[in-house]
């Protein structure tokens, strides 16, 4: 039984974290959403479900991922002692697989025979295509046409894995439109289809469910650091688009109030450059309702959703998981933003000092680490979630640096 005054009790039975979250979906989907909730509640209390997941995590994904002391980076920055939680070493190259395995096991339990998903950068799409191959289920991944052009290697990966990639052409043809298309597919195919949402957003129970699957990151990190240093970290840092890797790292530490928690949003060209020049929903948006939940959104005065911008296709979503919105409003987590240029510098820093090519998403987290670490004492221990590897981003980075490859 958890303490009543805990930050970890949410959501309530209506799927709310404070005022955020909920189930803002069309009636056609509502019975299905309720059945997902029921199935997840049952699975959550079934030890065999978690045993199967843990077995796959260990033998298929390669968990636990290492907690690595980034010594050269620490020396270079000259302050806080920096650890990387290395979820980029997971099978498929990011934290996304943690959630996909949890959800596909649930889909199997529910007797669903077809999987759909949305993807932005393609990391989630690749992870979904992977688990669908593993479990022999047909898979359709919706991806904005703009992203299909930007992320060709991941499109090809998904196809190799047997998935059908369908382009979303409406609106701006990016992640939010891919999510609209996936929801439209789901409304049309409610009987046999399970929707594997990739981030800790969407209608209840998705934000809680995705968080639970990603919490393996924070739980492992806590145990690993206790073993290594005999204590909790002083601060933990993660990047945020929808916020699944961040909530996965943060959640197990929420009640450890000595731990400073920082979420890093994508500041794009800069928050001062205009509402469509960044993807910082919390630091540059306001509460609204989209894709099944109430949360902070990038929107205009009329409540129309704006296009975010980030150099990282995985972060340019105009919303954010509802639990982050709540953690922001109650002040438990600090949310900051870094620009495209700062993230690029951090990307290069990580390659140069640690021999690790990070994805552009965690490069945002690292950019903030690089900002604050030098001013922190040497006995300050910081964990940063290195949630994805950067192979997929080398073309984008080359272009940004003016290099032709």
């Amino acid at each position: 039984m958890e303490a009543v005054n805990s930050y970890r009790n949410g959501p309530n039975e209506k799927g709310l974290f404070g005022m955020f979250g909920g189930r803002f979906v069309a009636e056609t989907l509502m019975p299905l959403i309720l059945s997902v909730e029921e199935a997840y509640s049952a699975a959550k209390n079934d030890p065999s479900y978690w045993e199967e997941l843990a077995d796959l995590a260990k033998h298929y994904v390669g968990r636990p991922s290492p907690l690595y002391f980034a010594e050269r980076l620490t020396e270079e920055l000259g302050g806080a002692k920096i650890y990387f939680k290395r979820d980029e070493l997971n099978h498929t190259g990011s934290h996304k697989i943690n959630n996909c395995l949890g959800q596909i096991l649930l889909a199997k339990r529910m007797g669903k025979t077809r999987i759909i998903a949305e993807t932005g950068a393609g990391q989630h799409g690749v992870a979904v295509a992977t688990v669908c191959a593993l479990f022999d289920l047909p898979c359709v991944v919706y991806m904005g046409e703009t992203d299909i052009v930007r992320q060709q290697p991941n499109v090809f990966r998904m196809k190799l894995l047997g998935a059908e990639v369908r382009g979303a052409t409406s609106g701006s043809a990016t992640l939010k439109d891919a999510m609209n298309e996936a929801l439209r597919d789901w409304v049309t195919n409610v009987d046999d289809t399970f929707y594997i949402i990739g981030t800790a957003a969407g209608p209840h129970p998705y934000p809680a469910m995705v968080r639970d699957f990603q919490s393996v990151i924070g739980n492992e990190a806590k145990e690993q650091l206790l073993e290594r240093e005999g204590r909790l970290p002083d601060s933990i840092v993660a990047c945020i688009g929808g916020g699944s890797n961040a909530i996965g790292l943060f959640h197990p530490f929420l009640d450890d109030t000595s731990v400073r928690i920082i979420g890093v949003e994508a500041g794009g060209h800069g928050l001062d450059k205009g509402p469509e020049e960044h993807a910082a929903s919390l630091t540059g948006g306001r509460p609204g309702v989209l894709h099944g939940n109430r949360t902070y959104l990038l929107q205009n005065d009329d409540g129309q959703i704006l296009e975010g911008h980030s150099i990282s296709a995985g972060l340019d979503y105009p919303g954010i998981g509802p639990e982050h919105s709540w953690l922001n409003d109650i002040g438990r987590v600090e949310y900051v933003s870094v620009t495209d240029d700062e993230a690029l510098e951090a990307f290069k820093l990580c390659c140069r000092t640690e021999g690790i090519i990070p994805a552009l998403e965690p490069s945002h987290a690292l950019a903030h680490v690089a900002k604050i670490a030098p001013d922190l004492p040497k006995d300050h221990i910081m964990i940063m979630n290195l949630c994805g590897r950067g192979d997929k981003d080398v073309f984008t980075v080359a272009k940004a640096l003016g290099v032709e490859i």
Binding site: P31, S170, V187
Partner: protein, 271 residues
């Protein structure tokens, strides 16, 4: 008695079903839209559904998605939508107007302010796709208190166990979505629709209207035989689209083409 109640009472007296027409407010531009709106009752629309355009219409097919974007690109916003209703009411005080759309533009406008302004403008009912009964506290209960009908969608996935939940705070009429799918796609089999309407009527005395995928006067007539009214949406907004100039602007014939289609569709309920 609201305009919606009066309309269904009048239809009953006439012994026929009604035609509900959907157009997106501000499509293809504010002025052309106001002309279409003004002409709808005479063309045969018994009830008018006005789509409040939204950037992310998750339950709509390509036709209504495109019409929303046309309207938004032409500068439509909630103020203009409400102003169009106000203008319509200076000449017509009987044809019910139902605003249909998604919650965020209303939430952004402010629920209390929206209800007050909608009533002043002459709006009779609301259909908000992404507000299921589980979220009734948001807008449904405040709307009912303010005297605006809150019209709920029932779908093929709404089984007998769930129907009472869906119908509980519904008023004006029940909108039966005849297919599991998005707007503008293939229509359901009429036999199924008849069964579904009968099933809903076992749970409520409210009129039941049927929509999604109805495109022709013949289909309107088939639905009219089993329900209190038929809704046509995508076919009408498609008529807007195909009658635009090459550059996407409204042409001389756009308004007449749309009203001509409505007039033709209305034969399905007028025999």
């Amino acid at each position: 008695m609201t305009r919606i109640d009066s309309k269904f009472a009048a239809l009953k007296e006439e012994g026929r079903a009604g035609l509900v027409t959907f157009v997106t407010a501000g499509d293809p531009d504010p002025a052309t839209f106001r002309s279409i709106l003004k002409g709808l009752p005479e063309a045969g629309a018994d009830i008018i559904e006005l789509g409040m355009p939204f950037t992310d219409p998750m339950a709509d097919g390509p036709a209504i998605q495109e019409s929303s974007l046309r309207a938004l690109n032409a500068g439509q916003d909630m103020n203009k939508t409400l102003a169009a209703v106000t203008e319509f009411r200076t000449e017509n005080d009987t044809t019910p107007i139902v605003l249909m759309g998604y919650y965020n533009p209303i939430y952004s406008y402010g629920v209390d302010r929206f209800l007050a302004d909608a009533i002043t403008a002459g709006v009779d009912g609301l259909i908000v796709v992404d507000l299921p009964p589980e979220e009734d506290d948001e807008l449904c209960i405040p709307a009912l208190k303010a005297g605006v009908n809150f019209i709920r969608l029932a779908t093929p996935t709404t089984d007998d166990q769930r129907l009472p939940t869906v119908l509980k705070n519904t008023s004006g009429f029940v909108y039966y979505v005849s297919i599991t799918g998005i707007t503008g796609t293939a229509s359901g089999k009429v036999t199924n629709v008849g069964d579904a309407v009968a099933r809903i009527k076992r749970h409520t005395d409210l009129p039941v209207v049927v929509g999604f995928g109805i495109k022709t006067a013949e289909q309107v007539a088939e639905i009219a035989a089993v329900a209190d009214a038929a809704v046509v949406g995508s076919a009408i907004v498609d008529q807007v689209k195909v009658n635009l100039n090459a550059d996407g602007t409204a042409g001389a014939g756009t308004v007449d083409a749309v009203l001509g289609l409505v007039s033709n569709l209305s034969k399905g309920v007028r025999g």
